[in-house]
Amino acid sequence: MTSSAPLVLIVEDEPKIRRLLRLTLESNGMRCEEAATAREALSRAQTQRPDLIIADLGLPDGDGLDVIRQTRRSSAVPILVLSARSQEAEKVAALDAGADDYVTKPFATGELLARLRAALRRALPRPATSEPAAFTVRELRVDLVQRRVTLHGAETHLTPIEYRLLTTLIAKAGQVVTHAELLRAAWGPAKLDQQHYLRIYMAGLRRKLEADPAQPVYLLTETGVGYRLIDE
């Protein structure tokens, strides 16, 4: 194992889930540190400087949300939350507190690794001068310099708001983007409680980019949380 392998801090009070995560991550070439409590998590995050944190929200000695908030004060390390299904409010709270994405328990390894890779990729240090010039996934290509969107090689015309929504999703491709983030990006902070504006524009965007807008391939819905643009 080389020292360039990413270091993942696993914050989880269940030893069996810690062991499973360690097994999965190490067999995929990552290094792991473990923490079973909020206190341990905060001190490990300080001393070990992990490249990514996977955090369960229910910890014996405190709220996982506090771990996220406190970590965020001093670090931009990507944080991935483990959460149960039908706890959308909890997921939104974690994302608002500074988490980057979440994985729903029980999770499939493939999904977990995809989320991990997306989070790590986004955190890679990038030379300040070279903003990515284009985003490509499957048949969709967005030229971020010329502001041109092509699908199967044919140019698609987007309205300015649709384009802003799409680039906001591209900036976090593979990761969930909350309703609030998208509303803020497209209309500013005044319309944060008007989720249906967003849904209507996302529907418009899907009609332009998806073969069947009722069975989207690129722009996935995370009901109750936000949207996710696929990246692989």
Binding site: P106, W187, H196, A203, P216, T223, G224
Partner: protein, 344 residues
């Protein structure tokens, strides 16, 4: 104690009511007012207060209205009959009411008992079966790996994964059902295009529907739905997974959205064997499962969760067989006034 006070108050009330009436009506008719009072007490309280009410009614009737008034003496024998009849009616009614109450309570208890039994039966079946399969598959992989072909190992691993998902689903269905029935769930209503919820539900059921063809037919004129998106998605996922479970691989599952008078209708149609005739209503009962012996697992709660969600939204859900074969589940949601238009 309060019930006896109520009985006395009712008798006083009946007497006060009868006092002006006694100017026009013969005393025998006034007895009927007391009967009403006794019925009211018997319907509301136990036998004791009802009997007390009947007895006091007879005494008040005799004292205030049977000549000579303001004495307990009875000169005319017909009023002995009236008074006696009043007493008998009181006793009979209070006895009948008490018996009816006991019977309905017993029925309620029996229903709860039955529900508890089917819950236990369902739990033992729906958790033990997959758990047995999980333990069996895992031990085969641990002990017999050398003797198993790669394909057999893959099959066991798939089984392990699917059955674990099944246990997880059963547990979350149970939790969801308990949550929905607790009456503490508040709907988080937002405006959704039907297309978005249908798409999200299909995406979430992708694994279960991998062997099926899925198609949507949504009227472009459908208004926005004012619903709790997470719950309506859950409802649609349950219907889609149901279709995947009960229809053969390769068949078509269609989600239809259309306008109806005063309602928005979402349907999930399949090309499977259809519903056992006569069971169109029963399938929404808790723990109902089509073909009990069939190798179909699931909590048996999916459709009753659907119904609970539909009702919370002021809507309804029903199942029927299609004329050309297959089943159709129809969700009807009331049309709500439209939200403010989107900004440019």
């Amino acid at each position: 104690m309060r019930s006896y006070v109520a009985a006395i108050l009712v008798v006083i009330l009946c007497t006060a009511l009868n006092w002006p009436l006694s100017l026009w009506l013969a005393p025998t008719n006034l007895a009927m007012v007391y009967v009403l009072g006794v019925v009211a007490i018997a319907a509301r309280y136990e036998r004791g207060p009802a009997m007390t009410c009947a007895l006091l009614s007879v005494l008040a009737f005799d004292f205030f209205f049977v000549p000579p008034v303001l004495t307990l003496r009875i000169d005319d024998t017909q009023y002995v009959v009236t008074g006696f009849a009043l007493l008998v009616v009181g006793v009979v009614i209070s006895t009948l009411a008490a018996r009816a109450r006991a019977a309905s309570q017993a029925a309620l208890l029996a229903r709860e008992e039955q529900l508890r039994n089917s819950l236990l039966a369902s739990l033992s079946h729906d958790l033990r079966t997959p758990l047995a399969v999980i333990a069996g598959s895992a031990s085969s992989l641990r002990d017999e790996r050398a003797r198993l072909s790669q394909a057999e190992q893959d099959q066991l691993l798939d089984t392990l994964y699917d059955e674990a998902q099944q246990v997880s689903l059963t547990v979350s269905d149970l939790l969801e059902m308990t949550r929905l029935h607790s009456g503490r769930v508040e709907l988080d209503r937002q405006w959704y295009p039907a297309e978005e919820l249908v798409g999200a539900a299909i995406e979430r059921s992708k694994r279960q529907l991998a062997q099926h063809r899925v198609q949507t037919r949504l009227d472009p004129q459908l208004p926005l739905l004012h619903v709790d998106g997470v719950l309506i998605e859950k409802l649609l996922v349950n219907l889609l997974e149901n279709a995947a479970k009960y229809t053969p691989a390769g068949t078509l599952v269609t989600v239809v959205g259309e306008n109806a008078p005063g309602a928005i209708v979402l349907c999930v149609e399949d090309e499977g064997p259809g519903l056992p005739s006569g069971d169109e209503e029963r399938i929404f009962d808790k723990f109902y499962r089509a073909g009990r012996e069939a190798a179909v697992t699931g909590s048996g709660l999916g459709l009753s969760i659907c119904r609970a969600i539909a009702q919370m939204h002021g809507g309804s859900i029903a199942a029927a067989n299609r004329s050309g074969g297959g089943a159709v589940f129809t969700l009807k949601l009331p049309v709500e006034p439209a939200p403010p238009a989107a900004p440019p």
